[in-house]
């Protein structure tokens, strides 16, 4: 039986979160969430103070992606709540588990345009998995239990809990439920075995099969299962950008990400395949180009936990709904029973290997010493395999996709769905909180880093030593590339000047700043950063004119890939 206890809503929130295993909260206080903040004095949850609520949400997001448990962020009502919206939307777009707790004006003041009142439930509705606004303190334990359950099950996502101040303050007899029911929510479907069997038949009878692993593969940690299937059937593996690193990128069957800035060999082989096993992907336009061209002449087997993804962007031949790891396990088991190992080298695999080898040799790269490819390969060379990498958004992100090989699956994270500049650094801090035992590096651009650079304060004061690996072209480089390509080199609104000096900026926060202008310096800088127990910004000046190539222009198909000339 659950024991009843009398306490305030704020206290109940903390107790309920402790029961969920929460150890850290990222946030910033204000009038409407002070009762909750006061409870930090009485519980075992660490508060990590941010300088902007958006960063708190990104930290929770990074924490959630790495630990696969919801990260928690706190913000006050009104502007605090609106500041976390970008972070919530980013988590939703990338199916990341998160609990965002906002303070709200007292119940009696709701709707009166009170000071710092904002209808955050209304604003957040399209970008949350679910939102709660408990109107009585007694609801809070149940809301927290359900909130965590919703955030982390099925297709994960952010859950907002908006608590009016008086509901935080009032006391009630609290029951902390172990069991609960949400009638309209059945996150897990058992994969249909008949469909798995059909998928196997289709893969076996295909001439040019390929596996496309999406972000869902990483979310469900289906790494071993994916590798077994690829090896049993000798099928090459491409990924989406979000699925990057679902499969070891140094594996002979790995071709890397497809898409707008996919690997040349991956895009080529994707367009030549006749059957794809698509795992945990929503076929985003950035990955597949135009929908019509992609599905032409291609049989699609689609595995996903979210039934609404089936048929949304692509017509599928076979759909397997359910946790992709569970579905792949069934597939592995069936394949083992059939003992259908396709070990011998067939023409398709030979062609795939040749293509891969060709592009390894022949992709034209920037000739300078500090070209993007060389810089990222250096990072890969020096970083231990288990290191976690996040990225910002822009050219550096796409160079990371092209030239930083993920070897240990599930160690690469990026804002892929919303493409939120400023995500990578706070997300790296959240990731480091989840995994203090491994190095965490944010591969950054100067524009993006500027957006949340004040998280340096959090990294320093809270002793969270992450590394910012800053590819500094003093430009909003990706936009500049589009202006060079599509707007006849009219560069507008992209020059960042040499402002600020990122070494001095880092130092002013008490972090370490190192400038690396040669490969030698870079090598040393990375090693110094790895050894140091304070956050480090490695500022790497690069050529502002370097383009990211290959490039599949928006509204075109993977076959129209533009290559370096």
């Amino acid at each position: 039986m659950n024991k009843m206890e009398t306490m305030t809503g704020a206290r109940a929130l903390m107790v309920a979160m402790e029961k969920e295993g929460v150890k850290e909260v990222f946030g910033l206080p204000g009038g409407a969430n002070l009762p909750m903040y006061d409870e930090f004095a009485r519980c075992n949850i660490r508060h990590i103070l941010v300088r902007h609520e958006q960063s708190a949400a990104h930290m929770a997001d990074g924490f959630g992606r790495v630990s696969r448990k919801p990260g928690v962020c706190f913000a006050t009502s009104g502007p605090g709540a609106t500041n976390i919206l970008t972070g919530i939307a980013t988590a939703q777009a990338d199916s990341s588990p998160m609990i965002a707790v906002t303070g709200q004006v007292p119940v009696a003041m709701i709707g009166k345009d009170a000071f710092q009142e904002s209808d955050i439930i209304g604003m957040a509705n399209p970008v949350v998995k679910y939102a709660f606004q408990p109107r009585t303190p007694g609801e809070i334990p149940g809301v927290v239990r359900k909130g965590f359950y919703i955030a982390e099950t099925g297709r994960p996502g952010p859950v907002l809990i908006d608590i009016p101040k008086d509901v935080q303050q009032k006391e009630a007899n609290m029951i902390f439920p172990d069991e609960f029911k949400i009638r309209g929510y059945n996150p897990w479907t058992d994969p249909d075995i008949v469909h798995v069997e059909r998928a196997i038949e289709m893969l076996l009878s295909a001439e040019r099969p390929i596996i496309l692993a999406g972000g869902g593969t990483i979310i469900s940690s289906a790494f071993a299962e994916l590798q077994s299937i690829a090896e049993l059937l000798m099928i090459p593996v491409v990924t989406t950008f979000k699925g990057k690193g679902a499969f070891p990128e140094n594996h002979p069957l790995s071709l890397g990400p497809i898409g707008m800035h996919g690997h040349a060999e991956a895009n080529k082989m994707m367009t030549e395949a006749d059957c794809v096993l698509a795992i945990g992907t929503r076929f985003s336009d950035r990955s597949v180009g135009t929908f019509e061209a992609f599905e032409k002449r291609l049989k699609i087997i689609h595995m996903d936990v979210d039934p609404a993804e089936i048929g949304k962007n692509q017509t599928t031949s076979v759909a397997v709904v359910g946790d992709v790891r569970a579905s792949l396990r069934i597939m592995v088991k069936m394949l083992m029973q059939r003992a259908t190992k396709r070990t011998e080298e067939n023409t398709w695999i030979k062609h795939v290997k040749e293509t891969k080898a060709y592009w390894k040799e022949n992709l034209k790269l920037h000739p300078g010493e500090m070209g993007a490819a060389k810089i990222l390969r250096k990072l890969r060379e020096v970083l231990p395999r288990e290191s976690i990498v996040t990225t910002e958004v822009g050219q550096h992100q796409m160079w990371a996709s092209l030239f930083y090989d993920v070897i240990q699956p599930g160690t690469f994270f990026s804002s892929t769905g919303l493409g939120t500049m400023g995500w990578g650094f706070p997300a790296a801090i959240g990731a480091k909180v989840a995994r203090p035992d491994v190095p965490v590096v944010d591969i950054a651009g100067d524009g993006s880093f500027s957006m949340t650079e004040n998280s340096l304060a959090t990294a320093v004061l809270e002793d969270i030593p992450v590394i910012v690996f800053l590819l500094n072209n003093f430009t909003l480089g990706m936009v500049a590339q589009w202006q060079r390509t599509f707007y006849n080199r009219r560069m507008i609104g992209v020059d960042q000047g040499k402002c600020p000096d990122y070494v001095k900026l880092a130092e002013s926060y008490g972090a370490q700043g190192i400038r690396a202008q040669s490969m030698d310096e870079l090598d040393k800088a990375i090693k110094t950063a790895l050894k140091s127990d304070v956050a480090t910004v490695i500022d790497i000046p690069i050529d502002p004119e370097e383009d990211v190539l290959p490039f599949v222009a928006p509204g075109t198909s993977l076959a129209d890939m533009i290559l370096p000339s």
Binding site: I121, G122, Y130, I150, G184, A308, K312
Partner: protein, 160 residues
């Protein structure tokens, strides 16, 4: 394709907002929507009529189903469904004959007469949207002053 969807949802504030918001943000159309509490006060039933090709309607159903506050979502087969809409027409009367003519027309459609005045008359009509449209066409020549419609309510026939 015109589709009738029936939704069993939690009877809580904000659900109608979420459902209509979903239609807006996913670029779907709402043709009509009606909501009412069911015999069990914990649930409401929503009936939504919408337009879209088969794929779109399938997507709408899936997205609605995915919503945590929806307990059941069904795309109803028109032919196996009883569906009706209530409409009220205020019609102009220009001469002595009009009153009788409107009466006749209303009778033909099974409508009821209300609020008979010298210059206007009201007709209450419960029918399918097609029948209501047909009635509207025939009433137009008299002059329609105002119309109010409830949107469709629908239930699947037993054994269907």
């Amino acid at each position: 394709m015109w589709a009738i969807l029936t939704l069993l949802v939690e009877n809580k504030p904000g659900i109608l907002f979420k459902v209509t918001h979903l239609f807006r943000s996913r670029n779907f159309n709402i043709d009509s929507i009606s909501v009412g509490v069911t015999d069990n006060p914990e649930y409401s039933r929503m009936t939504i009529t919408t337009y879209g090709d088969e794929k779109q309607v399938e997507q709408i159903v899936k997205q609605l189903d995915k919503m945590i506050d929806t307990i059941e979502v069904k795309h109803l087969d028109e032919h196996k469904t009883v569906y009706r809409e209530l409409s009220i027409f205020k019609i102009k009367l220009s001469n002595a004959n009009d009153s009788m003519e409107v009466n006749k027309l209303a009778n033909a459609y099974g409508g009821k007469i209300h609020d008979v005045r010298k210059e206007s008359i009201m007709v209450e009509l419960t029918a399918t949207p097609d029948q209501i449209r047909a009635f509207e066409e025939l009433a137009k020549p008299f002059g329609i002053i105002e119309v109010a419609r409830t949107g469709v309510a629908a239930l699947q026939r037993s054994g269907a």
